[in-house]
């Protein structure tokens, strides 16, 4: 006699909303007089994500309702500073 017991797999993968969109980098020097400035933090965050500061902030504005003025973006490109070397 064939034993007709079957198990059904539940294929639903649970959602995980808690993963941070950006890497959760901690600011340097918190609690000391040498605490990192917002500009410095923004620059370091952009570097960790391999992005220019402008592109990182633009991305953040698409994730929220925040609207970034073109003049602000211009100022942010100054934080980016250096000119790009276009190597292949």
């Amino acid at each position: 006699m064939v034993e007709m017991e079957t198990t059904v797999w539940e294929m639903h993968t649970p959602a995980y909303p808690s993963t941070s969109v950006l890497y959760p980098l901690a600011p340097v020097g918190v609690g000391t007089p040498f605490v990192e400035s917002l500009t410095g933090y923004l620059k370091r965050l952009a570097q960790a994500h391999h992005l220019k500061v402008v592109d990182l902030v633009t991305f953040c504005s698409t994730q929220t309702d925040m609207h970034v003025l073109p003049s602000t973006l211009q100022k942010l490109s100054r934080i980016d500073g250096m000119t790009d070397s276009g190597q292949a």
């Binding site: 006699m1 064939v2 034993e3 007709m4 017991e5 079957t6 198990t7 059904v8 797999w9 539940e10 294929m11 639903h12 993968t13 649970p14 995980y16 808690s18 993963t19 941070s20 969109v21 950006l22 890497y23 959760p24 570097q47 960790a48 994500h49 391999h50 992005l51 220019k52 592109d55 990182l56 633009t58 991305f59 250096m82 790009d84 070397s85 276009g86 190597q87 292949a88």
Partner: protein
């Protein structure tokens, strides 16, 4: 069929009978029967991921429609569940990530696009705007440089930094057979080297799912073979009673979850369904899904064999598929016996610890002509 008991209560929610054809199809599609060959592969895979060796590549290999994608989905499900169960998990970590490898036009595999797809799968923001920061020294000063045009190798380095941030438990690649679309044996070796280096440098186990076409990636170099842990998902064979029983169980499970007013009697015709699916459960399920979908549209009371015949693959297609599968299987399960290995290692041919049960294929020595088989002769006095 003798010995099979049909339960009167359907296993699906009765309100489905009033639901749309789409809802009934979706319900059937979501039901995955845990049959022995995928349960075994899943257990082995999860165990390999729990105890990974450095730079390990797990290769899950099997015929098309045998259940590789199901094993992949259950792996993702389980790793995600485990991840969520951790009481204090890092907010930036991901449970698991992976992609289906693409078949690129022109037949050449492209790592740049593959790496970009992987970055998307790792939830990276602005993948097409990535830049590469590097530090050089000019005299006593360190100078930060930034390049906007990234080569495939740059993307590889970038991927490693992303993996270090996200730390998934495993990195998976489905449709692994697309990896072999490169020119020459040297190219094949390079493909595996890229994967090995990714697994090695990121310290994240890599799982490669694919068909027997991936056979060519095996045996290329001992160095790489050492890293590869193979998991074979076999199809069911009509010659093995346990396989036949397992196939009938799957069919039974599926017929119980087909939301028709009358239960279809598919198990009675198991040989027909076995032939049409070549013993591959994925092929069987797709076939039943299409046949049942058409029957739902016509509001049929049940699914019969004649309704399934319309959706069956033609015999010549099946023969062709079977030939390809069998040749892949034979290539994969190489006929070198344990005896060959022991001889090569200079050990005595018989292994005392593991008796003949591990080597069922060794042939019994042929008797000389004229010698009687002792079993034929009655032994007097031992009645």
């Amino acid at each position: 069929m003798k010995g099979i008991q049909h339960m009167d209560t359907p296993q699906f929610p009765l309100e489905l009978l009033q639901a749309s054809a789409e809802a009934r199809k979706a319900y059937f599609s979501s039901k995955v029967i845990a049959h022995p060959s995928i349960v075994h592969a899943h257990t082995l895979l999860m165990s390999a991921l729990r105890h990974p060796t450095d730079g390990q590549i797990v290769m899950v290999i099997g015929a098309p429609g045998v259940g590789k994608t199901t094993v992949r989905k259950t792996m993702v499900r389980d790793l995600t569940t485990q991840f969520l169960a951790q009481p204090e998990r890092h907010p930036g970590h991901l449970p698991v990530a992976g992609i289906e490898l693409e078949a690129f036009g022109g037949g050449n595999f492209k790592w740049k696009q593959t790496r970009q797809a992987l970055l998307h799968a790792l939830h990276e923001p602005q993948v097409d705007k990535k830049v590469w920061y590097s530090t050089t020294t000019e005299g006593e000063h360190a100078v930060l440089q930034r390049s906007t045009r990234l080569s495939s190798d740059d993307l590889g380095e970038l991927l490693l930094t992303v993996l270090a941030q996200r730390q998934p438990q495993a990195l998976w690649f489905d449709e692994g057979q697309h990896l072999i679309k490169v020119a020459g044996a040297r190219g094949l070796l390079d493909q595996l080297d890229v994967l090995k280096s990714l697994a090695n440098r990121s310290c994240i186990p890599t799982v490669l799912f694919g068909t027997y076409e991936m056979n060519v990636l095996l045996g290329l170099s001992p160095q790489l073979d050492r890293r590869i842990f193979r998991i074979h998902i076999p199809r069911y064979y009509a010659t093995k009673p346990a396989d036949v029983a397992a196939f009938q169980q799957v069919l039974f499970g599926l017929q119980k979850h087909l939301p028709f007013p009358e239960e279809p009697h598919l198990v009675e015709d198991w040989e027909y369904f076995f032939t049409g699916s070549l013993g591959c459960v994925g092929i069987l399920k797709d076939w039943l899904y299409q046949a049942a979908g058409a029957a739902f549209d016509r509001d049929e009371r049940t699914l019969t064999r004649s309704m399934c015949e319309m959706w069956a693959r033609e015999t010549d297609v099946l023969v062709d598929m079977l030939q390809r599968i069998t040749s892949g299987e034979t290539q994969f399960i190489q006929e070198h016996s344990a005896t060959d290995l022991r001889t090569l290692l200079g050990l005595s041919v018989t292994d005392k610890a593991t008796s003949s049960s591990t080597r069922p294929k060794t042939s019994t020595p042929k008797s000389r002509p004229g010698t009687r088989n002792p079993a034929r002769d009655k032994v007097v006095g031992h009645g």
